[in-house]
Each structure stands twice: as C-alpha cells, then as structure tokens.
Symmetry: C2
Subunit: 199 residues, 2 copies
C-alpha cells in the first residue's frame, strides 16, 4: 500500500497518474465519496459516487479501510478490492489526505508506505492554486488555509519529497516505490530461495 499525500496544488495527481501509467504492478485505490461528481469525472474511475445514507450503511458494515469527512463530504477506501488484490501480490496507490493516511497506517501497519509531497515554496503553491481559474479570493484563501493544515501533518509520513520539478519528483517517488518492494519482508519466496542456496 503506497500512500501519496500532499497539499492540493503540490502535484500529487500528476505524479499518481504517471506512476500508474508506467508501473504494471500498481493499481489505484478508487475511493468512495459523497461529494457530487464534477464534469469530466467518471464513476468507478475517479471515485465511486454515492449518497450519504449508503455511505453510512457501508461504514457501519465495516466496508471501509479508512474514511474521513472533509468540508462536509465523506471519502472512504473500500475494503474488499484492496485486500483481495494485496493477497494476489498487487500493490495499491492511495491518493488520500493525512486523515486517511493516518487511519490506513493504524489499521494496516508496516505494509503501508507513505510519501508526502511538498511544494518548493509557498508562492509556487499559491500560483498553482490560483492558476486553476476563476475562483474568488475567499475560495483561494480557503484553499491556502487547507494546504497549510495539510502541510502541518508532514511529520507522520515515511518519506518527504519536494516537488520543484515534476519529472524529477516523479523519478524520485518511483525510486521510493521500487526500493520499498525490495524490502526483505515484502519479497515473496525468499525463504525458499535461500533454503535452496544452502542445500
């Protein structure tokens, strides 16, 4: 389980998309959400869109690995798909915020690797948040406040990568993913392999 978190505007979505493109062993964990679908989004690809009543039922039935409420909308990671995939040796990418990351770490333990992306400076972050278009100052200020709040949780992550260049950042995050797969505890069959070497 490979968590990628960042304040909004630090490039997380781009990095996640590139990782999924090049890495055949990695699947995206698609979250369930109660927030309305935005133009261009696809149900089942970007999120599983649902209503609050269904969300609450699923939560009560233990269907979620983690869930969080952000600005009045609920987000959750559905359980079944992930645990089945992990058992088959698949890896999963989680594009989630600090609350989700914290729950996933608590619940799933040392099999979780978490990476936090930071913008190179606050001006870059603000430019990126403004650059999206047509929003007013109040909306921008709200986003900046939320970004600062997200950044304040940097010290719960295993790895921190500063995104001052999207290609360099991508290569770096990929390095972390590749290295973590080489951990002894994550390699299947090593015990048999070494037993054969010692025969």
């Amino acid at each position: 389980m490979f968590i990628l978190s960042s304040p909004s505007g630090a490039g997380k979505t781009t990095i996640a998309r590139k990782l999924l493109e090049v890495d055949g062993g990695l699947d995206l964990s698609v979250s369930v959400t109660t927030r309305p679908m935005r133009p261009g989004e696809v149900d089942g690809r970007d999120y599983y869109f649902t209503d609050r009543a269904s969300f609450t039922r699923m939560e009560a039935a233990g269907a979620f690995l983690e869930w969080a409420e952000v600005f009045g909308n609920c987000y959750a990671t559905p359980h079944a798909h992930i645990t089945e995939g992990l058992a088959q040796g698949r890896d999963f990418l989680f594009d989630i915020d600090w609350q989700g990351a914290q729950q996933l770490r608590t619940r799933m333990g040392p099999d979780v690797v978490s990476v936090f992306l930071l913008p190179p400076d606050i001006a870059t972050l603000e430019t990126r948040l403004r650059g999206r278009g047509t929003d007013g100052e109040a909306v921008i200020n709200g986003r900046m406040a939320r970004a600062r709040a997200e950044i304040s949780h940097w010290d719960a992550y295993d790895y921190v990568v500063v995104n001052d260049d999207i290609d360099g950042c991508f290569a770096t995050v990929r390095t972390v993913l590749q290295a973590e797969r080489l951990r002894r505890t994550r390699q299947i069959g090593l015990s048999d392999f070494t037993a054969r070497l010692m025969r």
Copy 2:
C-alpha cells in the same frame, strides 16, 4: 550507514566499488584487520593493517563500532572517523559480514540500512568461488561452507537483492540508497522548511 553484505563471490566488492565511484556523498568505512596484507592491497585504503596486540588495545579503549573474528583474523570498524563524518552529513558504506552488521544495527539503531546480496543460484556461486584460480578442493569446500553460513543470516537484513546481472544489481542497490536518503527522519532542515511553508 549503509551496510552491504553477501557471501563471498556474490559480487559485493564490485557493487561497493561502483557505488563509491558514482556517489559523491558516500565514503567507504575502512576496517582495521589483523590479517596479513595481500599483494595489491594498500594500508589505509583496503584495510588498516595492525597486529593482534594493537587490535586488542584499541578494542579495550572503545575504539570500535563493531568487531568480529573470522578464521582466526580480527576485523573492526574504527569509531572516530565514522561518527565525525556522520555529524557532517556524510554517508558511509560498510562492506562487512553478518556479525559486523548485527553489531552495527544494535549499536547504531535505525540510522543503519542493510542490504544483503545473494547469488542467483548455488552453481553460479561455486563457479565464482572456483573461478578465482588455483585453490584445491578443500579450500573451495571451506569457502562454500562459509558462503552457506553467511547466507543463513539473510533474514536479518532490511533489503535482499539477487545479483544475477552486475549492472542491474548495481542499479537496484543504488535505488535503495537513494530512497533511504529521502526518509523524512534522514532529511536535515525539513522542520524549518515546512514551518516556512506554513507561515
């Protein structure tokens, strides 16, 4: 502190040399030994060569981070050079066996990363051990027994890499080194950096 261990003949020395060549932040930890100097070796580069009496005095004076006796010869990592270098932000490569690795982990804790190289199969290992030249069966058998004993400690290492191709193995070990440097706990100045972002 980056430990590279392997059974003799699994390519550790070649990988270590290549890492030191390309990585400007990495120094070799040069061990002290009581074994005789071999042709081509240089005192202070390959080892610090010393006699048993001096070795015992240094050990008693707490000059070593770890030490071990192998086939009647003593090997140790001198303390001062390493701790000074670490304080200046240098990284050190340790080309040591499982006994040294175990002591270094116990003594230095989570700042130690250990990688164990394995041969792709036992026939390749035997070929490499024979390939060195002119030794008799008894010597070869002794080396094979020692290699098996070393392999039996594979499960104490953080990472395990199978060396079936020297360039691929080198790239893989380098990936581990680069990723470990990105750990939050190893990055100096992150706390100040994030504080500036949140101002």
